[in-house]
């Protein structure tokens, strides 16, 4: 991009063609007050704080929306400009009800700090004192219209970053207000509670319930870490005061993995489940009672030492260090029975890849950011808005910003179905036929010459008769043909599949999906939604594959002992607790008391991901690390250390 030079306040300032005047000011460290501008969002020139004087312009212009051009002579400050800025602030203060002393945002408010800067010790205008509502219908977020300056940052964040577009301006003129959907309470709207809006809001107009009055940023320490809840691995910046989490922000919402979701932003703040704080041992009365680590280790060593078949089962929420230590422990015990709770998913993906083409199949596993640049997205049996919300956001952003075509293959309605170009509803058990019919529709439409020879990938689809398949499936043939056409014409499509496919444990189905991807794209891209934050880490450590499955062995009573590493996983299934029943001696290592710990003979405490240092591999293979945000409520060893201690106590 060609370079331009502007004269700003008498200083030669370099910028790029396409920059706004504000961009050039920022790049050259020239201070300019802004309120509606937010890094990474489209500028709209709503607040008029960044007004500047430009030679030969008739009026003052907002620097954020005014294109910079070579040779421009700009003045960012003059008596008149400063007078106007103060005037704008006074108008903002009198337009709504600003009572700083009672506002959650006082001390962290951009409007307030500008008022200080401009020494706004009074307002000369008639106060409007409008009657505004406070909407607290969302479980996590309050929208207090009394404090809103109508800058639109929340609206643009929700649209451009979160991709939800739940917010917009409603009504006109004097009555203008931020509203959710068609003026519904936020809690009943399409808001997905990602919290992006309140992070972007410059005032106290949108705030997090759990963070309100917990502490001002100046009183907090800041810790950067990674969210380990799901396999996206978003970056987080936590504000902590007196060892209490005040708020979880994104360090930079415009960066890849900079977005957060409801789980990452709020789950750690609402944590109220009862913790395991010390090792527990089942006493002679059959009750779990507190004991020392040493006692627990000795008992485990004795029991496991005497047993010839101990199985290890881990949640994919555990850190890689812990998973590795569990694998080592099992090795030391000479046991081949190691698995993860989502081992079946992992094996299905692996075997599907192997059936397709081991090397090429792995290469097809795309990076999440590839979704943002895709021109056609196929979502098969996945509800990322629920399971991996940021992936849901990426999809919605691609669809709205890039006009990416969205094809949804799912029997149930989900947030994407109403945005989808085509929604195919396969009846139960007919997903494979639907995928195959889609493949055939692509072949029928014909692939562009540039796609090269795809005959290798068409074998799976050739025999299908789309019309007949449509009839069998109860799907309109035109929908299948249309989806086929969209895929055939796309340049970089991406296929995302998840639990709705993996639940069938059908590797052939996965292989067919990979075939479909290979058929449609030069650089075939597939994302499999793995269930836990570190599922991929466990996969790479070989826990669930080639080892496992263990659950069925447990059920058959093959294992006499079980080491269950749950870490901070609270979602363990009934099937899991059932499988423990037949085991003679069970150790559960977990952060929380749960049905599983209730059945255990020994319980060992786990730290939460917010309390410990650990490595996690995102579902697309990026290694990320967590840092402790807060101290644990008791002296608890890391999962890896606990497991190593158990291994050390074994006599062999």
């Amino acid at each position: 991009m060609s370079e331009i030079t502007l004269n700003i306040n008498g200083k030669q300032c370099k910028g790029k063609q396409g920059d706004s005047v504000l961009d050039v000011c920022v790049a050259n460290s020239i201070d300019l007050p802004t309120l509606c501008h937010y890094k990474g969002l489209t500028d709209v020139g709503a607040c008029r704080m960044c007004l500047v004087e430009i030679e030969k312009e008739r009026n003052f212009v907002p620097a954020c929306t005014h294109p910079a051009s070579d040779g421009q002579v700009v003045k960012t400050s003059s008596e008149k400009l400063e007078k106007y800025r103060r005037l704008i602030l006074e108008l903002m203060f009198t337009e709504r009800n600003h009572l700083c002393a009672y506002c959650v945002d006082s001390g962290d408010c951009e409007l307030q700090s500008l008022a200080y800067k401009y020494q706004m010790d009074n307002a000369r205008y008639q106060y409007a004192w409008p009657t505004q509502v406070t909407d607290s219908s969302n479980p996590f977020i309050v929208m207090d219209h009394n404090r809103c300056i109508l800058c639109g940052r929340c609206i643009r964040t929700c649209d451009e970053i979160t991709g939800a577009h739940a917010l917009d301006f409603g009504k006109r003129g004097w009555k203008t207000n931020v509203c959710a959907d068609i003026n519904q309470p936020l809690g009943e709207s399409s808001c997905i509670s990602c919290g992006g809006c309140f992070q972007a809001c410059p005032t106290g107009a949108i705030f997090s319930k759990a963070s309100a009055y917990r502490g001002k940023p100046v009183e907090c320490t800041t810790v950067e870490s990674t969210c380990a809840i799901c396999g996206v691995g978003c970056d987080i910046k936590a504000l902590v005061k007196n060892n209490r989490l005040v708020r979880i922000d994104s360090p930079d919402m415009t960066k890849p993995r900079g977005l957060l979701c409801e789980m990452g932003r709020f789950e750690p703040l609402y944590d109220s489940a009862e913790r395991v704080t010390t090792p527990l041992n089942r006493n002679s009365k059959g009750q779990l009672a507190s004991c020392s680590y040493e006692e627990a280790f000795e008992i485990i060593a004795k029991k496991f030492g005497a047993s010839d078949s101990v199985a290890g089962l881990a949640s994919g929420k555990a850190s890689s260090e812990a998973l590795k230590a569990l694998a080592d422990l099992m090795d030391k015990l000479g046991s081949k029975l190691v698995d993860t709770l989502d081992g079946d998913d992992c094996r299905t993906v692996s075997q599907g890849i192997a059936r397709f083409d081991s090397k090429a199949g792995l290469d097809m596993e795309a990076k999440l950011e590839d979704i943002l640049t895709a021109d056609c997205i196929v979502v098969i049996g996945a509800h990322p808005t629920k399971s991996h919300p940021v992936i849901g956001s990426y999809i919605m952003r691609a669809a709205s910003k890039n006009k990416a075509q969205l094809i949804v293959l799912d029997p149930l309605r989900n947030p994407f179905t109403f945005r989808a170009s085509v929604w195919l509803k396969p009846p139960e058990g007919k997903k494979e036929l639907t995928v195959k019919a889609l493949g055939k529709a692509i072949l029928d439409h014909g692939l562009p010459k540039a796609a090269g020879d795809k005959s290798k990938f068409s074998a799976d689809f050739k025999e299908v008769d789309v019309k007949k398949a449509g009839k069998d499936l109860g799907i309109d043939v035109h929908d299948i043909t249309r989806a086929g056409q969209l895929l055939a014409e796309s340049k970089n499509s991406i296929i995302i599949y998840g639990s709705g496919i993996l639940e069938y444990k059908d590797a052939d189905l996965v292989a067919t999906i990979l075939n479909l991807a290979a058929l449609t794209s030069e650089k075939p891209s597939v994302i499999s939604l793995k269930r836990y934050g570190n599922s991929r880490g466990a996969w790479q450590l070989g826990l669930g594959n080639p080892r496992g499955p263990v659950a069925s062995d447990l059920a058959k009573g093959k294992a006499k002992g079980l080491y269950l590493l749950l870490a901070d996983d609270l979602t363990e299934s009934q099937a899991l607790t059932d499988s423990i029943k037949g085991v003679e001696f069970t150790v559960v290592q977990a952060s929380y008391l749960s049905p599983a710990t209730a059945k255990a003979d020994i319980v060992l405490p786990s730290l939460l991901w917010t309390e410990s240092k650990g490595s996690y591999t995102t579902l697309d293979g990026i290694n990320k690390k967590t840092s402790p945000l807060v101290k644990a409520p008791a002296d608890i060893k890391t999962d890896a250390d606990t497991l190593k201690e158990v291994a050390r106590h074994l006599k062999k």
């Binding site: 009572l99 002393a101 006082s106 020494q119 010790d121 307002a123 000369r124 106060y127 004192w129």
Partner: protein
């Protein structure tokens, strides 16, 4: 040098601003050397006489407060507002988003602890204005020290500047609205 004559009033507010004034530590000794307090909650003098500086804490929400601030303005050369209530309306202005009748009914009849309540109509109880106003919406104000309550530091700054013959504008680094 003759002492500077000062009157202070406490209108619709919590008296926090006057407390903050008393919180200026040993500076209060310097002030007392240079200043003579006339009508003020501190002296308990109830009548107005002409002064150099008038200081108002609190917003204006009823007929009596309106009368007092008008009389103060009439009797002082420079009028300084203390605190968010006087500067912006403050917490008292919260009632402005409701209408007056609703506010009265809520306070005197509907509160859970009220039995057989009545809205007072005695001429001895000043009538509420339609809204609660910051001082500058009723009379001309010359300078402001915002804060809820103002930082003693800011109060001190305001007084020092006035005593030096300047109209104070609280600098950004000590200005607070909370």
């Amino acid at each position: 040098m003759a002492k500077v004559k000062v009157a202070t009033v406490w209108l619709e507010a919590c008296s926090g601003c006057h407390m903050s004034f008393l919180d200026i530590d040993e500076f209060i000794i310097d002030v007392s050397k240079l200043v003579e307090f006339r009508r003020s909650p501190i002296t308990d003098i109830k009548t107005f006489t002409p002064v150099d500086v008038g200081i108002v804490e609190g917003s204006v929400g009823n007929e009596e407060e309106k009368e007092i601030i008008e009389e103060l303005r009439h009797n002082c050369k420079i009028l300084m507002a203390w605190g968010d209530c006087a500067c912006f309306g403050g917490v008292c202005a919260m009632r402005n988003t409701f209408n007056k009748e609703d506010v009265l009914r809520r306070a005197y009849i509907e509160t859970p602890s009220t039995y057989n309540g009545k809205i007072p109509v005695s001429p001895g109880v000043p009538a509420l204005l339609d809204k609660v106003y910051p001082a500058n919406q009723i009379v001309k104000v010359d300078c402001y020290v915002p804060g809820c309550p103002p930082e003693p530091e800011a109060i001190k700054y305001g007084l020092t500047e006035l005593l030096a013959g300047r109209i104070p504008v609280v600098p950004s680094n000590i200005m607070r609205f909370d």
